[in-house]
Symmetry: C2
Subunit: 331 residues, 2 copies
DNA sequence: GTGAAAGCGCTAACAG
DNA sequence: CTGTTAGCGCTTTCAC
């Protein structure tokens, strides 16, 4: 592998000069610069970013820890973050915590060892794991995405969960439903708690009570959605509508309902927090609260990048990205 | 940030000893080792992977350049690769080329500068870009995934495209179709050429001719699928079946067909190379050639990792991962 | 069983 | 406008 010294020798200049033409960090006579560029070309030289990082203490890399990259919600969020990072000359390293505290722990430590310049993280569960709680004591800027960790005052970019869940529930009530089953994700996660709050608010406002048997937890996974639906169906007095609070669980709901050949929306109305990519192609098309993961990613990255300048000076920000209710055929 | 020197001082040993307890690279008296571990704990020390990499010339990181991480096919492939990497103590850096030669170029260079230990790459188009063509001259092992580049003898892990396309086409023929429109991706891409070959083979075997107006290109994008479908429909003698050769283009086909309220499969049969995540939930459920991206990723990573030992000694391997035809309601 | 010291490839004073 | 050189934090001979 050719080094900066090889280039310097080939061009007949010092390594300092080569470094400065690479980085444009000080004026170089144009013919000297040209010789250097020629030498780099000839030797097929590619600066060693590892050495650069060691020296400058900057990796120009951002780490992101998300729940599952195969979930289109996070895949899209990551694309938004990536696009914003690239524009600013940073690259993004993506890790899947898979909703597992162990993996989260491992990846956050990994990203720390690799000296990321900043972090984007959607904490597992309620964010009480030690590695997440220690984040503020470490001197790397970070911003929470999609969810935030309990008890940590830090930047966060989140969907407007309460409003979205409220709208979804109210829509169902307006359609005449009184018994609305809600399938939540992981207890303690801020998304879960906030969506539950929106649901309660709508019910209470309508003078309806919140029945415990109609509140289920599906772990934000397909299987969880399926299981919760089956539990609902086996109730002596089953709900007439199901509100699934993430895309994956909605898939579980739809599969179960299709399998049991239950008519939608006549026998069961279905609404999802977070649309499915092809939601409009289902029969009937899916009614959903549409989030904007791409924007969440972009905004979060933008916020993070500003932190590199104002070293912890500006106040912590919590940004809520609006959601919109898309009424289609399933309700 | 605390360094290995701080730990050495705190523990009252040399940096060499600290290094060796971190890496287990030589015997250390158990009480000394204990003191060192204590010191690391107290100082909240995290080894600097950047410095380690510079010194050892190994980053323990693999770079992957894929077309689009929001495409479930690649998202799943990446998960397979990642799982295999993690098991072996490597981490995976994912980049989206977005089918753009410029981005591909930029990312491959980026990964080179960051001194990845190895690369996984699905080349854009026919893989004729200079950065891809230079890959072999560079001394980093790499393996092609999903597609391969023209004229480069290198490891590759690919779906069995010819067989899959043959099966799909034959299935349509068996169902009585004579005019079958095929929507290919990007001209020159090996996936495109191979799937076309399978299609031709089945038609020829059945004594049918390959009509040029029934062969379209959709760039592996939703919009391309939509456009191609519309072109087919406006033909004086439109096809009775459409064979879409990737998941995204299939979405475009389905959207167009649904919009035009064309009956599937009566008025138009639809088959897709690469299943949709929720293909079974459509009305009618989608018939598809199911690939196994997770396995492609795992196998490719496994192959790459073996290359770290046998430095280019073993012969180049091309591994074909089987596909299976899943007949559902759309044909 | 342990330590001293020479670099890995680069950047950035400092000096001219 | 250009060169010399001291590290960045770590691993790894070589020596004891």
């Amino acid at each position: 592998m050719t080094t900066i010294r090889d280039v310097a020798r080939e061009a007949g200049v010092s390594v300092a000069t080569v470094s400065h033409v690479i980085n444009g960090t000080r004026p170089v006579a144009s013919d000297t610069a040209e010789r250097v560029r020629q030498a780099m070309e000839v030797l097929d030289y590619h600066p060693n970013a590892v050495a650069q990082s060691l020296r400058t203490r900057k990796t120009h890399a951002i780490g992101a820890v998300v729940s599952d990259i195969t979930n289109p919600f996070f895949a899209t969020l990551v694309r938004g973050a990536e696009d914003a990072a690239i524009e600013a000359g940073y690259s993004l390293i993506v890790c899947n915590s898979d909703e597992s505290p162990e993996k989260e722990d491992r990846y956050v430590r990994l990203l720390r060892r690799r000296r990321m310049d900043g972090l984007l993280i959607s904490p597992v569960g309620d964010g009480s794991s030690s590695v997440v709680q220690e984040l503020p004591h470490w001197d790397t800027p970070f911003v929470f995405i999609d969810r935030r960790a309990e008890g940590i005052a830090a930047d966060a970019v989140l969907s407007d969960n309460v409003a979205g869940a409220y709208q979804a529930t109210k829509h169902l009530i307006d359609r005449g439903h009184h018994r609305i089953g809600i399938i939540l994700g992981i207890k303690g996660a801020t998304t879960t708690e906030e969506r539950l709050a929106g649901y309660r608010k709508a019910l209470t406002e309508a003078g309806l009570s919140v029945s415990k048997e109609l509140v289920a937890y599906g772990g934000y996974r397909i299987e969880g959605g399926r299981k919760a639906t089956e539990d609902f169906l086996s109730l002596s007095d089953p709900p007439t509508a199901i509100f699934s609070t993430n895309n994956l669980m909605t898939v579980g709901v739809l599969k179960t309902i299709a399998q049991r050949k239950i008519a939608v929306p006549q026998a069961m109305a279905i609404i999802s927090f977070d649309d499915l990519d092809l939601g409009e192609l289902f029969q009937p098309p899916l009614t959903a609260v549409t989030q904007n993961p791409y924007e969440i990613g972009r905004i979060a990255m933008g916020l993070l990048l500003t932190r590199f300048e104002d070293k912890g000076k500006r106040a912590v920000e919590e940004i809520r990205v609006p959601v919109v209710l898309t009424v289609r055929g399933s309700t």
